[in-house]
Assembly symmetry: D5
């Protein structure tokens, strides 16, 4: 079951660089694990923004919620979640 | 080069049913041709809306503009276009 | 799996009364069938508005989309869909 | 008498973890007491947000206001309150 | 129990003058009856707008909803409803 | 001459409790004096918000501005001011 | 007593040219009379818009409301009204 | 050439009183000099807000930009700039 | 003196094709004349929209207003006008 | 391939002056290099704002993203990115 999730990251200006790098690394590993598991299906960067457009394929709402709340960068994110379903004109 | 395009369709209430069916058929053929050509990469329906979230892979802005304006349903659409680029954490 | 759906109805001023009554009756039967099936869990009227707040319990996004698009009043509705999941403080 | 209340929580980044845990515990006890009393009828989590959708059944506006202002997390909340009433198509 | 209700009226340009005058008269009688009954406590005109700010004193949400939906001008109104309660600094 | 003024209060999280209590007391005295003088005609609390809906009866704009700017809580307020006038359907 | 009023005019596309010219002439005479009387103090056109920024000097809210509602173009206008008062740094 | 400029001032809560008074004095002198020069034509206070509505008469855009950026309070201001031109119904 | 003007065109669905083509031709000639005169400096199409981003170089506000109001498509346009001035980092 | 990028800069009030001057100098050099390379085609200041309107000519989305993220002032910027394409009425 598919969801579009758009995430915008706002890092406090006074966060020490190393702390930021550490969180980013955790975020990258977290995101890549979910991609390898086929859950985080697509992850694109929005031009000019510290933001992404993502497509998730999850079992249900709760699974999506838990994995989103588990994002290391979650406390610094604004997020919108849009449920998707197959389009009648899609050839997939 | 990738773009996210979100399209919402508003059909005038007084459009005859057959005219609507005809345009929808043209739209479907148009969309499926572009998908087969690998240009319209993803096409998902937004739950509860006569709207879609699409990902296009085009050569440049002009190609995207021309194909969007060529949509049979274009006159009845509201559209947002967001340029995307590869995300550093994407495994693709 | 739960979704909050808020629906606002805008009936064209020139719709004949009988046509409106007929659609409303179809809508009522449609809504009550889904409530009896345990799918349309809650249906409340918003004070002062021709609008409702509803909670749906569905198998997946597609099921929700199909039943929303099947609403007789759908062509006259503006709708927002919000995916929900169990709250850690809920006693249910 | 029913009200929909949507609450979004924004915790200051510099709040010590223990203080946050303590407030959350108070909030949970507060919420569960009201649920047991049949006042806080429904409490759902919004997917991807530190937010909830709740339905309250109260005697009057003042009772609702007092219990909302009494929420331990109230100082960190943005809230919207929507008065509801029975829907003519509801089977309850 | 008090509610603030703000109403903005948009009359279709093609409504015949007599029809408009007739509805306005019904609206006036309806509003004045409710004022005499102490339900429609305050009714003020917003400067420069075909809109009003009103305060209603009703038994519950349902009573408010029914009387608002009964307004002759209701089909031509946009409305916002805000539940109020006594202010700790009010001397009334 | 009547004005509707809606005030929302945002108190900085780091304001010492005593300072807050002191300002609130000053605000209450200030508000009650104006009510006794018949200037601050109505003062209601918005359910679920640290906000009020007020009706002022003042000689002119300048008088309203001066008394609003004199509110002890003014520095922590967001405010909207709407000029009102008698409604043709009001029985007062 | 001063008010800023911003007016935007939206003329229905199907209004006959002569009718539009007639209303515009009435509007011009109406506006110039009020300017001569020193009530409509300033009237400027917003670049690129069929809109104006105006400053009115009136006795009270009711006078302002009545003269605004009397504008021949009123039915085709969207309007915002902002009460003003003398600025402490103004040399007038 | 005329421009409407609306300025809203937000002073940080932790700015020392003397510093604030000093900047305000500079601002007042700056504003009054420009008024005496006939550049800052009108300066009105918005009721209930730490904001003003101003009309500037300048040679060109650059002159306006430079004088606005030179305002002592500029760093604490939000500003909107609207180009104006003579209105066909104005008697000036 | 430079201005950014963004124009969005909304053509009524029931406008006959020939009438639309005629207006478009007039618009094209009008726009190209102004470009040749060095007034309409830049004219770009916004991808996916019947809209443009333009840069005008005009003597003053009135000149800009008159030429914008003279656009054959003006009655079908929504427009925003932003005054520009030289940027300190520009090498032109 | 052209993009309009609008940038608004918000410098924290507590940034030391020298640090701000240093970043501005880096920003100026960075911007002028890109202008000399024909990538940053236009850079205009918005009157009354610490903001600019820019036109970029880039190979693709990724090039634009990388150069925007490389702006020394990027951490203090809010940005909007709009893809453009040639306008049928443009004479260039």
């Amino acid at each position: 079951m598919l969801f579009k999730v758009e995430m915008t990251v706002n890092i406090p200006k006074d966060m020490p660089a190393e702390e930021f790098e550490a969180i980013k690394l955790k975020e990258k590993n977290y995101a890549q694990k979910l991609q390898e598991d086929g859950i985080w299906m697509h992850l694109w960067r929005v031009v000019g923004q510290y933001a992404n457009v993502s497509i998730f394929d999850v079992k249900d709402n709760t699974e999506l919620h838990d994995l989103l709340m588990g994002l290391p960068l979650y406390p610094f994110m604004e997020m919108s979640v849009t449920p998707l379903c197959p389009h009648p004109s899609s050839i997939k």
